[in-house]
Symmetry: C2
Subunit: 429 residues, 2 copies
Amino acid sequence: MNHHNRLPHLLVIGGGFAGLWATRVLAGAPLRITLLDRSNHHLFQPLLYQVATAGLSAPDIAAPLRHILRRQRNVEVRLGEATSIDPARRQVVLADGTALDFDYLLLASGATHAYFGNDHWAGHAPGLKSLDDALHLRRRLLLAFERAEACTDPGERAAWLSFAIVGGGPTGVELAGTLAEIARHTLKDEFRHIDPASARVRLVEAGPRVLASFPEELSHRARRQLEKLGVEVSTGVPVTAIDGAGYRLGDVFVPARTVVWAAGVAASPLARSLGVPLDRAGRVPVEPDLSVPGQPHVFVAGDLAAVKQANGAAVPGVAPAAKQMGRHVAVAIRARLQGANARPFRYRDFGNLATIGRMAAVVDLHGFKLSGLLAWWFWLAAHVFFLIGFRNRLVVLLNWAWAYWSYQRAARIILGKGGDGERPPAKPE
Amino acid sequence: MNHHNRLPHLLVIGGGFAGLWATRVLAGAPLRITLLDRSNHHLFQPLLYQVATAGLSAPDIAAPLRHILRRQRNVEVRLGEATSIDPARRQVVLADGTALDFDYLLLASGATHAYFGNDHWAGHAPGLKSLDDALHLRRRLLLAFERAEACTDPGERAAWLSFAIVGGGPTGVELAGTLAEIARHTLKDEFRHIDPASARVRLVEAGPRVLASFPEELSHRARRQLEKLGVEVSTGVPVTAIDGAGYRLGDVFVPARTVVWAAGVAASPLARSLGVPLDRAGRVPVEPDLSVPGQPHVFVAGDLAAVKQANGAAVPGVAPAAKQMGRHVAVAIRARLQGANARPFRYRDFGNLATIGRMAAVVDLHGFKLSGLLAWWFWLAAHVFFLIGFRNRLVVLLNWAWAYWSYQRAARIILGKGGDGERPPAKPE
């Protein structure tokens, strides 16, 4: 790449929707681009809950960044973790001590779980952001039924069969609906001492309704669909404590050995080193062109950017918004290279959809509302369409067709830490 | 299951080919059966190397034992690890302290890696027996190329691009051939600082030839096919040391950051608590009906059993032999229940096959020998046919068709311990 060395260097941190889309739109641009990510793959995050609930394998929803970008000669993919940014020196420092200089920076490192000052809950209520999280959650969910089966104490057994999903947003709704389906259908006939269908799956939302970003009517329909699937929905009462034995809902302690955290995300802590004011969730309030105030060569896109729409509402933290921001940053940088200024970013809202479980979903397309089976087909088509890569789409479709007809889930394999979860495997490291 | 409590109890340890086949053949028999396994799944071990080399996902070659056996009402599946056997008291103790009584015992817990007195090599040269092993190996293999790319020191870079597979049996040959294909084809165009095709993949066999269980002519053909794929084959010189920097081949030190152990297996240590003499590999020399000498109610099957064929040769540690032994034990126990004695076990040898890599394999069907493309098709058909479960077969075929045409591998996703392999992910536990 020596002949490229005099070209300006764009460093992209994060290979999610924002970072990857920006990089791809800059194919052929007179830039050297480095795409830095902590993992070697782009993740189709909207289907992550399917990996956690054993419907899909991890590789079904991920593709190696190097492979996606192999033909884009102005890009170098680098595996590594950024730990701090020095905007004045235009330098990013990695966990291994390396410093990378940049002329332009796109910070798109996304969001992580937030326990809102209750970090000690983390060990008892894992969240879902990465493939490793999903595999961890899968193991916890599947092992809970194994523990219940092996238990002889009725109270202990009931606690193993008590599940709570904290947070009634799209991820919480998807997890609760799918877990209820697993308990009622997938595991049918497989146990001899417990009835998996007796498992209690509770979705706990502190606010007044689930799927708060949807119109009220769809929230109510979603709740009814969840209840039909066997989920107990609790709204309006916050979780006030979580430990290994259960959780406290308002003042009432509920025994539960499995609590999942889907209640909150916070922006990647890397944003702090930019030295600009952040919003309450740790996101960066950006200029209309998505650059950082006072740092025109630094852009922020995706879940890490706090952006307002024309109507004053915040741009939501969803995949289509991240892609649009990524594309916008690419266009803005091309403009800068030609000495021009970028137009302000405008979010195009194509609608909002969330799946609930088997044949149940809600769709809101600018006031055109769908729910139930039709919404579920719409959701399915949209997600399969947007999954990156020909092969993944086919495998995902095949898995889903199979799951649909058989109620089975292809990936019900407990991995890691020894199958029985008690002892680590005798694995050399 | 209360009405069953007076039936004799068969405890099967291990849900591999031997244990699972015995259990299935005993459907409907007047027995209570408990199938105990450390993991929740039956594993199609012959394709484990495909998971390690990112061609298949872990769930593609595994199926939950509970699901396979859900309709067999005389079976209870139990997740747990047996730690000792007391044949006199007819009791097995588990890692969690539980004791299980039995009337009949089938010990089919298989084999594990053996470093032949060099256990300190384990950390530097991982082996391949479980899905966790395969995912660990996958991470090591993929990360080696990432490390080489990030390296600036030429010697260090060469060491990251130097791979050794120790052991020229079927597993070693499969791993070496596939790894060479990955380096030469799969990773093409993806790196900017290294040429993955320059990676050195060496297969090291201490004996005089690879695939020693095959006729000499096929060993030679296999060696030529390996060399054509880009593997350096070394025979007749043993590995005398392994550490994090490389390995010693006879007296010569070879730098290599990635060494894989495919050289030896030893029987599960559980066999020791039977209190009978074991052979050198730790296997149990059994009676002709596969029962333990002096313990007619205890049977051993699969890799753990040392059995002679009519011609004096040992029954090999392959899947078809394990299935046949499992079936035989089931028939023997049925005979015992009726007061009869079982016939001696006779191994039916259907032939021997091993794959080498893309379009290369060797097949020996009682003197009818095949190699190359035709052998590869034969191998492919046989393995897809024997893979348990309709869904897995389809997905595996699809993955292979895709891999064949595109040279791509579907599961090139680095999981666990943080993508960059340096730090653990910020994962609540």
